[in-house]
Amino acid sequence: MSRIIQNKAVFYASLLACSVTIAFGQRVNIGAQHIAGFQQRLAAYVKLRNEAAAGMPRQKPTDSSGKMSNQERELAQRIRSLRPSARRGDIFTPEISAEFLRLIRLAWRNPDAAQMRRSLARAEPVSITIHINDAYPASIPLQSMPPTLLQNLPSLPKELEYRVIGHNLVLRDARANLIVDFIERAIP
């Protein structure tokens, strides 16, 4: 676990490095502000998602794979209807995207990078065109995430996960199998 703490320390230290002095003499940590904003947008998404799920039966293990996929589709449809005009960049705003790109570039420069690249290459990379509010196609493998990359990214609420699709870093609603947002060409 000390490794995780170390990595988190590197992450937050790198945010501190972004601190700049702005007008009025106030020292504001720009990186931390962007992360806080990102987390607020994630929380807003989870709130909307909970509204979408209201009234639906709680997902429980079932013998019926049909029921399972129907619930997945219904939840996705309800989320879509609550954010019909969702666009790329709603959650990954340009500012936080720049921060992610910086973090990923940093991760790609450290000694673990070769292993991460190999890990991605061995996880059956896929290259498909993706759109916000699309379902991830069931017939296409979901590329696994290198653990080192996951350690270097801000944590997410349990409803969401990071995935790599092609060179894009994707925010995916795991239960609804929905592409919530993505950063284009984030992965070198």
């Binding site: 676990m1 490794r3 995780i4 997902q59 429980k60 293990p61 079932t62 013998d63 019926s64 794979s65 049909g66 399972m68 996929s69 997945e72 673990d112 292993q115 991460m116 190999r118 890990s119 061995r122 996880a123 059956e124 069931a138 017939s139 493998p141 979901l142 590329q143 696994s144 995430m145 290198p146 653990p147 080192t148 996951l150 350690q151 944590s155 996960e161 795991a174 239960r175 199998n177």
Partner: protein
Amino acid sequence: MRNLTVSTVALSVLLTACSPPPTTAQTQTYALKLQLPEKPKAVRFAVIGDTGTGGKEQYEVGALMAEAHQTFPFDFVLMLGDNIYGGKTPEDFKRKFEDPYKVLLDSGVKFYASLGNHDDPNERYYKPFNMNGQRYYTIKKGDVEFFALDSTYFDPQQMEWLQKELSASGAKWKICFFHHPLYSDARYHGPDTDLRRRMEPILQKNGVNIVLSGHEHVYERIKPQGSIYYFVLGSAGQLRRHDLRRAANVAKGFDTDRTFMLMEAADDDLYFQTISRTGETVDSGAIENQKLKRVQ
């Protein structure tokens, strides 16, 4: 590790790169000879990986497993991921899981799945996979505790959970199973070294004995790494013929047909037998519990 006394059929391992794939007419079948001791109170189970194709060979392996179950009544089956390839409709679940293992399912054999990159993570809600809605979970059977992991998303939360669960476990045998291999000498994917770097220290520190993975569509038993025995079995449905490289750390390999494995944990020993689709025993042996040896 000890070899069992019954000799096994010579393997085509690693040395068959130039031989053409056998046609159906050439395929030799073998009378199924089980070499497991069937000790009283033993924990008996089977292992399959990369199964969910719905192809003829998956059904043939399923039928052979059912035959083996008659003389070696294993209670459950571990699934090493890629349980359902391609589409995920109810028809797919039937054709790629329920039908190939119907005899076993009807006999009350339980299946415990882990997630592969071809699986929808929501398969964790599919009751016959016994994941109880969890991407990672534990099962305790007698002296053995099993840790099913999600190697497609080994995030800090899962890492922390694994450390906690393993350190709290007092089981005599600790067996982890998940999709991506930490060691493999197959050409197509190879090992996931980033995953190994993050996961292996936790496994070693907490006395894991056996690690079972799939992803590579071959069978491999890796020479022990520290005190951990690694098996790769990603050929219970899929097969990548002649994919194994000649490598120093492969104790045994088989890449010319589909396979499944039977295991029996009894007291201080864990016995295993890997069987091909045609009934050939391609590997077998017994693993002594090093931890217990050290304690004694």
